[in-house]
Amino acid sequence: MNFVSLSFLLFLFVAAVCYYVMPKITRPFWMLACSYTFYLYDPENAPFVALLLGMTAATYLLGLLIQICPVKPVRIAAVAAAVLGCSGVLGWGLYLHTAIKPTALAGLMVPLGSSYFTFAALGYIIDVYRGKTRAERNPLYYALFVSFFPCIVTGPIERAGNLLPQFKRKVTFDYNRVSGGMFRILWGCFKKLVIADTIGGIVGTVFGKPAQYSGPILLIACLLFTYQLYCDFSAASDIAIGAAAVFGIEVMENFTRPLAASSYTELWRRWHISLSSWFRDYLYFPLGGSRKGKLRAHVNQVIVFSVSGLWHGLTPGYLIWGLLNGVFLAVGKETSAVRGRIAARNPLYRLSALKSVIQAVIVYLLFTATLVFFRAASLSDAAVIYGGLWQGWDVVFSQSSRFLSSLSAVGWKDAVPWIILGGAFGVELLEFWRIPVNQLIRRIPFFVRWPLYYALIILIGFYGQFGSSGFIYQQY
């Protein structure tokens, strides 16, 4: 079921009404039924429900075994079995996604949510092994944790320690929480349909045939892709968090204004937090983390990001994206002290606001540089983009009308993209000054707040790109 559809809103409404009407003891099981209904709503997911059920049953039993069995080799074997099984599912999904993506069968064969439920289940098994979480004895609660519908499509990748206790907690209806959740969904729909998908049209055109475009257009498309990816992915998280809040479940934040980050390390502390922290806890730390010296820490970082890159797809582009991020982080940390000393003498950095802006711009540009490999269809396309970036700049100044018509040709028509980007920039600026706009809207008086709700809905109705695509991260 598509998050940004009226079917989903209707589904959510019915699910929530029944949830609050039902006796409290039955609510988690109702949520489980809703999660499987959500999963099976699109008939093409039906073949994969066996995979979801199988993985749920297997990891549930392995969890119990690890908890109960005192024999360490058996417990290790159970963890190994879970790791192998989950990696197998992830690998299978990756193979299908990478190898069969260009064919029409791709959509039918890649299991929806496989990343979410394998990461969630694997994290649970490791946590049980480490003694951080007790094995869940009730299989229905565990099944709900693995298939929790707000998170199954694009995350956030939740931890058993956070979700399972919430399922058992008595939830009473709280108007502020429910309406806050609904607003978060509305905010997510706006970001996805109006901002991300409008930008996505332009980005898709340019990245589709990069050789046809000059440097300025390529640069605009690259810069826009970063923002598209942020809006698209964070919108999915907003909707997931909002939907969970409607049911009184608090899901972890996945993005905390990452594009305002003043360093690359900070960017990755704010971007896709649930996956980053998952890799940190279950890969980086087991590799030794930073406990075995600086060099080893940097190597571990690069390994983690390379794996993260390959998780997106078994292509050189994703691998390079991961490697570059790992390297940028390592270089960032290594040069931190030197940069600090230089910064102290930089006159532009005397104004703290200007310093933050300059740093955020540099981080944005570096991140964009890596994302070219992420978005380009192939390495040769990425090379074309990097080669083309330096050409055709004279047109911007000498033949501005030609440049504007090129912009128009890639979809930057009329005032709509300007208005959307202007509005988005305004929101980013407010957030840069630590004013969270979506929370601000929830706090302002009723007579101002409701017209804003109306405006958001009307803007979605007028400028939303309906039916254009799913979420970018839905495919991973």
Binding site: L6, D174, Y175, S179, W450, I458, G461, F466
Partner: protein
Amino acid sequence: MKRFFLTAGSRLLSAVRLAVGAALLAPLPLLMVWYNYTVDCSGFFQGDAYLREVGNMVLEGKDIVGYEKMNDQQREILKIFVNNIDPVPDVIALGSSRIMQLSRDVLHIDSFFNCSVTGGDRADVMGTFYLFDREDRLPKTFIIGFDPWLLRSDIIDKRTDKELYAEFLEKCLGVPSDVEYVETDDEEKWLALYSPEYFQNNLSYASRDTTGVDKPQVVEGDVYQQTTEVKRGDGSLLYDVNYRNRSQEERDTDALFQCGNFLYMEDYDEVDQECVELFDKFFAYAQERGVNIVIMLTPYPPIVYDYCEENAEDYGGFLDTEPTIRELAAKYDIPVYGSYDPDKIEGVTKADFYDGLHCTAEAVEKIIGGEDGENEQFMHDLGY
């Protein structure tokens, strides 16, 4: 007790706030549904928007010019007529352009609409009947302009809605058809009603710039002095003033062209019994549904008919059609007016034809007997 009241009060407050929120949000989706239904650019609910615009002009009783540009879409507009005509007229005419001169003025009946279409064949006749039948909007009487090609099995106009015809044959007459028809997909239609995507399409459609678009216009000035064809508000057709006033020589030239190039009648040796059986079932079905049928045979110009008689061996199918249909009509007690043979209609001469196929409104008046609607039998047959 105090805790109970506090909890109950808090829940009541939440319920009220929720209800107010829902009430405040409700107008937006309702507005979208209303807009989607009203503008309906894809014609899910009211037919194609552009065609609907044209169709509604006619249904409002307006005479329009430029309708000939829409010859290929007449069947679609017909569906709009059927769905939107209100109330359903007492009398509906079915057939081809050869019956398009049948009008309210000719019949002296206000409750009449001419649903004939250019190139109308048996699939059009039965399909149009079915459109009314399917919507349970049958009139009192159908006047069928029975053209000779209706009994010729291989004549189906390329513009005909064959699926509609097939549906009628299979569902109503119990006759299997080679053409497969697809049941109307209501799901898509109702999904469109609350689709934001459809809302955007409707917004674009409603705000489009139609300046300079060449489309039918309401007649300005004297309707009888128009230099293009006029689709009358009753569905009948008024040829342009120049065509109506052509010299006899020009009309005869057209008639002579039909001799040897007779539309749909060349290589037609005998009436197709398959079609006769089909109309047999059709008449039985129509009577079962409580509808009067009146058959009208509009004449051919004397030049054409005489040529066919002289070459009877080549036009056996044409010449046999009239006796066959009269025999079939008699079986169901269906009145038949007119004849393909102009000599059999009192007062009809070659001057009563615009060309080699189409007779004038005056000729139709002569068929029904009298210029002032004084043919009581005809009015009785129409159900008055």
